[in-house]
Symmetry: C2
Subunit: 228 residues, 2 copies
């Protein structure tokens, strides 16, 4: 019997899909664009992946499996180092968001392209993507939430969950929006070049996230008003 699992075609399709989904979204990208950019036959996608939806899932699985395992490894290392006592919030934030951001420099794991795709997809509407990501993220999410609960025992759990969510949003935008940033600024500000900008993004975002995570708790005031 003959067999081979041509991995080259598969990878070329995944790379092209990753880039195009990032640039134009899932619904905005056609199979013909993907196979065109990958220089493979139109039918290759359905042969190797079965459908466009399955292709999308595989694009994510290829990167997320590694990312989430890495996040587990980082937390393992921190916890071993701490030996029983609760971790510092900064360590947990680094394990989750730092690990993510460090992917940007790692072209073998998708680099900036995948990060921007991920950032955009977290707000994507399609049902099957949401359920897929929720399933894919569940274990690592559970673990990090627990770590935060232990690290911040005086903060109500609901508050921590919300702040985790806010941190996700800030990070997602920071990544997705190297373009979207043009909405905030026209970058006429004298500024470092783009590679340097990425290096500085990580500590900048980390400071912001930790500042938000450790902010004073809100006092619930049902009668908040704005002036005039």
């Amino acid at each position: 019997m003959a067999e081979a699992r041509n991995v080259d075609t598969r990878e070329r399709i995944l790379d092209a899909a990753e880039r195009l989904f990032m640039a134009h979204g899932y619904e905005g990208t056609s199979m013909r664009q993907i196979t065109g950019e990958a220089s493979v036959n139109l039918a290759a996608v359905n042969y190797h992946f079965g459908s466009k939806e399955s292709l999308m899932q595989e694009v994510f699985r290829r990167r997320l499996d590694w990312l989430n395992e890495e996040r587990m490894r980082v937390l393992d290392a921190y916890e071993k180092e701490a030996g029983g006592i609760a971790l510092k919030p900064s360590q947990i934030v680094d394990g989750f968001f730092g690990t993510l951001l460090r992917m940007a420099d790692d072209e073998t794991h998708g680099g900036m392209t995948f990060l921007r795709l991920l950032g955009r997809t977290l707000t994507e509407p399609s049902e099957f993507i949401r359920t897929f990501l929720a399933h894919e993220y569940k274990p690592v999410m559970e673990r990090y939430k627990e770590a935060l609960f232990r690290a911040l025992p005086e903060v109500p759990k609901a508050e921590i969950v919300w702040r985790f969510h806010f941190m996700l949003g800030a990070t997602s935008y920071a990544i997705a929006g190297t373009d979207a940033l043009r909405l905030v600024t026209d970058w006429q500000i004298e500024e470092e070049d783009s590679t340097d900008r990425l290096d500085r993004l990580v500590p900048r975002l980390m400071s912001f996230l930790l500042g938000g995570l450790r902010a004073p708790l809100p006092q619930y005031d049902p009668s908040a008003v704005n002036p005039k």
Copy 2:
């Protein structure tokens, strides 16, 4: 001559489009879905708006014009109140993000539906949406950035721009993701009901944003490492 500008059909189309774009995204929503939900003829969209793209822009213009004027008014009021001296960061954040969040309770200006649409669209890939939003937001963005520069003279401007961007992301997610939040938690946490949840969201997010905005400045360390 006869004339009328049937405003009822227009509004019904805009309402349906707003809800469907929010639920399924721009590319994921068809004209037939929109006209079906609005109970108008398929050709009505092209008659009243010219094209799907123009419809999308009108969906946003209808809400953003009011929102951004309101943001200007709030800042005017705060600055008049302050009489010359720089505003407090909390006032600026309230003017920009608080005004936005207060739209959620205001059904006459789109309410939660538009907010979620806006949150999702800020990461949308389509070129024409990005350029449209950038143009629509430019004046108010410029004004608020200047206010922040004056309020935080000791913080480098580039740093403020980044943190503005982070705040946008956190807010966008907080809004867009009443669903996406299920990714972080399964909400088995004993928690307030959903209307109450919205009331509490505003102070929660405000605390987070201000904590992030006023966080200690990052020290740039090119050799940051994670353990193992």
